[in-house]
């Protein structure tokens, strides 16, 4: 191993910086507000308190009777009464995930101290991730169609279930007429959407609402998830989702996610959570090619994009698949860059389950909160690291440590890899 301050990215095959340094001249893009709907806490503070304390939101499914299914645990968002948050005319036309997204967006804007009515309408954009759309809404309408007939299908079906619904509804609710976007890369989407939002801010859009919120906890959504072969069939919440553990047996799905407000640092009011400093995305080689998986390369591109060296990163938020082979690939990627046990690694999603497009967006919030509070939240329930997992996994108890920069990793089913670096934002003093 060469010196710990060695620059990453540029010295590996295919690890070229995305823009050969041209981005460096661009203004910083910062996160100024966050809104959270997570299985272990509704709202940023409830979520963060639970996360630091190691409190899990995983339990038996209550939304429907899961007893006929092999997998029966999920992370459900607790205590969410939609009528408290959403106007009644919107209730009829929205899926559960859209209501959660609208609520999280409202909180994120309030957190940023933004009143959208006071900002130029074309200067605000919305870019969200989606994995499977408003599936529960779609389930009810499919049932009406096939059991009662086409004339019973809701007038809202055409848009309530589709992947673009959260972006559309958020833009309408807040009068945001700038650029829009919807990225679908399963669990990697939370990072891909934020990266796209950063592009828009860099192109001159002052404020972009971004992130991801997903939920498909209905029988039809559950039935559709089971064939991926990765759902944990454990009945014991503390033993079901054990990423990097020798006893990893798959993951527990959850619902929810996070919405973030991104702004140009020079225009942002008040204190920012941190800067979206680097991003990289890759796709895995097709099966049988014999080539290396792309996660490490994504992380190296993100570090190079941020202009950071590996020693600058104080924590890695892992994708944490909970699937033996995928855990090994991720551990090798992290150890390959940082050295064995070379950086603290954590997976607070052990307390929420994997939230699809919401998962990485929520991890970004955790990373930003770590920077803000100087504490790394724990990974829960992991007892014994699998052989060859050479990670300094922060387990059971939070670890207090100054966090200057965090690397967040995410992977989407099928081969999508994304990595994002967030770092403490120190406003530059402009010379007179």
């Amino acid at each position: 191993m060469s010196g710990s301050r060695e620059a990453t990215g540029l010295d590996h095959d295919g690890g070229r910086a995305p823009n050969d340094g041209a981005w460096k001249a661009q203004p910083a893009v910062v996160v100024t507000g966050v809104g959270v709907a997570a299985p272990n806490g509704l709202g940023r503070d409830a979520f963060w308190e639970a996360t630091v304390e190691g409190r899990s939101g995983i339990g038996p499914i209550t939304r429907f009777d899961p007893s006929s299914y092999p997998a029966q645990l999920a992370g459900e968002v607790p205590g969410y009464d939609a009528a408290e948050h959403i106007p009644s005319r919107l209730l009829a036309q929205t899926d559960h995930m859209t209501r959660l997204a609208l609520t999280a967006a409202e909180w994120a804007l309030a957190d940023a101290g933004v009143d959208p009515k006071e900002l130029p309408e074309f200067g605000m954009g919305v870019v969200t991730a989606s994995a499977s759309g408003g599936f529960e809404f779609g389930h009810r309408e499919l049932e009406k169609l096939w059991s009662k007939g086409s004339e019973h299908v809701s007038a809202y079906q055409s848009f309530a279930w589709f992947y673009a619904v959260n972006t559309g509804q958020i833009s309408i609710r807040h009068g945001m007429r700038g650029p829009t976007g919807v990225l679908v890369t399963e669990q990697a989407g939370g990072l891909d959407a934020v990266a796209q939002a950063r592009r828009q801010v860099r192109k001159g859009i002052p404020l972009v609402v971004t992130g991801g919120v997903d939920a498909s906890l209905c029988p039809w959504g559950w039935t559709a998830q089971i064939p991926n072969g990765r759902l944990s069939t454990s009945r014991e919440p503390a033993a079901a989702f054990l990423p990097f553990d020798a006893g990893a047996i798959g993951y527990v799905p959850g619902e929810g996610g996070a919405i973030l407000v991104l702004e140009d640092a020079s225009a942002a009011r008040g204190e920012a959570y941190g800067e979206i400093a680097g991003y990289g995305a890759t796709f895995d080689p097709r099966p049988g090619s014999g080539r290396q998986p792309g996660l490490r390369r994504a992380a190296e591109i993100a570090l190079a994009d941020a202009g950071l060296e590996r020693g600058d990163v104080d924590v890695v938020f892992a994708d944490a698949a909970g699937v033996v082979e995928l855990d090994r690939i991720e551990a090798e990627a992290i150890s390959g860059i940082f050295g064995p046990f070379g950086v603290p690694v954590t997976a607070p999603k052990t307390m929420t389950g994997r939230l699809y497009s919401g998962g990485a967006a929520l991890d970004l919030v955790s990373a930003l909160m770590s920077i803000k509070h100087g504490v790394i939240p724990p990974t829960t329930n992991v007892q014994r690291l699998a052989e060859g997992i050479d990670l300094d996994l922060v387990r059971d108890a939070p670890r207090e440590a100054p966090v200057r920069a965090a690397l967040v990793l995410a992977r989407g089913y099928g081969g999508f890899n994304a990595a994002m670096v967030v770092r403490r934002h120190t406003p530059e003093r402009t010379p007179r």
């Binding site: 074309f122 499977s132 004339e151 007038a155 619904v165 833009s171 089971i226 796709f283 080689p285």
Partner: protein, 422 residues
């Protein structure tokens, strides 16, 4: 903000499957002949539905070279995308094994993903809609691929061996423009040198018919299906649901030149905006689409009067046709009256997220051949639509700059500008 990258993006290959013909050549022949490919729905019994017309592609996956396992694994929309991907690679002369796979990315647009397979699976696991607690034991092993349409980008990436950034873009009916716009951005910023980009949708399924019936968005001209898609015509009464795909090889200009690739056109400007008004409704003033057009022209550093042809969204709903007519006047001023406009949806229907890419293909072919495709079925203009919509017959015209626009549910408005490469 004008584009500041010195990396230019060109189309060097295309593959198209649209109703009325398989392959880009058949597609262009249909468009320039002014024939229509709309008909009575044949995939299932359409009698229970208000709108029974669709533009179906006569696509046989086995005849197009997909293996039995590929056919079983992939939803029809993924099949369309993969077959178009193969066509665009051949057309471009792009041999995937001769390029660094980490510099090749994928961007696939779709509005409704694997909706056909999802509905077919639903019918089985719910036993015909009778069981709320759907039975996973009857599900296809590929059902998860249908749940997450990101599988489309995976299927294309596997086809190409791409290891650069890969994504699905799903912004409803502007997906096909936005997916190509996204790919263009990734090449400009240097994240990839080559992007396999385009869009696909295969939505002709009972649930799709039912959901558009419920808001009367689709035509009820069931007794005259061949003439049912009538954009800008005074007698129009809604759009005709379609299906299809178009995929492109997009390359950084220098990359294309170094390998002596053919060039159809350059992607010179792109923008999307949102109306923040209504999930399905449009305001008649066309303000946000006009803004998208203005920003796209600015991105391309082109003046409004440089536009030689507008490939319209032209869905054939009253509110759309008036909305975009207003948007063209608002963004291009008097030049809008001097610019030929047309809607190919009059011939190939509205394939939701796919159509934006299919219309980019039409725009690129229009530049290459110097021909403006017509708007079929346009006999008597809506008095409020007073531009030149190129009725019935294709028109020869040298085209240096073409504007292609899209408008969709969610309030999304997108504009893509293509330019001739000297």
């Amino acid at each position: 903000m004008p584009n500041t990258s010195d990396r230019r993006v060109v189309i060097t290959g295309m593959g198209v499957i649209a109703p009325g013909g398989l392959g880009a050549k058949a597609f262009w022949e249909l468009l320039t002949s002014g024939r229509t490919a709309t008909r009575t729905v044949s995939f299932f019994d359409p009698n229970p539905f208000r709108s029974r017309v669709a533009a179906e592609a006569d696509f046989d996956p086995a005849a197009e070279g997909l293996s039995p396992q590929e056919i079983r694994r992939m939803d029809r929309a993924a099949q369309l995308a993969v077959v178009c991907t193969r066509e665009c690679l051949v057309d471009s002369g792009f041999a995937t094994d001769e390029h660094d796979p980490t510099r090749v990315g994928v961007s696939v647009g779709t509005a409704v993903g694997a909706t056909m397979s999802l509905e077919q699976e639903y019918v089985v696991v719910s036993d015909g809609g009778q069981q709320w607690l759907t039975d996973h034991r009857y599900a296809s092993p590929h059902l998860y691929d249908y749940l997450v349409p990101s599988s489309f980008a995976r299927d294309v990436a596997w086809e190409v061996g791409a290891e650069g950034p890969a994504t699905v873009i799903s912004t409803g009916c502007t997906s096909g423009l936005d997916a190509v716009g996204h790919a263009m951005e990734l090449i400009r910023e240097g994240s990839a040198d080559v992007m396999i980009a385009g869009a696909t949708d295969a939505p002709i399924s009972p649930i799709t018919l039912a959901c558009f019936d419920a808001i009367k968005a689709t035509t009820a001209r069931n007794d005259d299906p061949e003439h049912a898609s009538r954009p800008f015509d005074n007698s129009r009464d809604g759009f005709v649901l379609g299906e299809g795909a178009a995929m492109f090889v997009l390359e950084e200009l220098g990359h294309a030149r170094r390998r002596n690739a053919q060039i159809y056109a350059e992607l010179v400007g792109f923008a999307s905006r949102s109306n923040a008004f209504h999930m399905t409704g449009l305001r008649p003033d066309g303000r946000e689409m006009a803004e998208a057009i203005r920003v796209a022209l600015g991105d391309a550093r082109l003046p409004a009067d440089s536009v030689d042809y507008i490939n319209a969204h032209g869905s054939g709903t009253k509110q759309n046709d008036r909305h975009e007519t207003a948007a063209f006047k608002r963004s291009l001023g008097d030049h809008a009256y001097r610019t030929p406009v047309s809607s190919i949806k009059s011939m190939v229907g509205h394939s939701l997220g796919a159509i934006g890419s299919i219309e980019i293909a039409a725009s690129a072919l229009a530049i290459r051949h110097g021909v403006v495709p017509p708007t079929a079925n346009l006999h008597e203009r809506d008095p409020e639509c007073d531009l030149d919509y190129t009725p019935l017959v294709a028109r020869e015209k040298r085209l240096d700059v073409v504007l292609s626009v899209g408008s969709g549910f969610g309030g999304f408005q997108s504009a893509m500008i293509l330019g001739r490469v000297a």
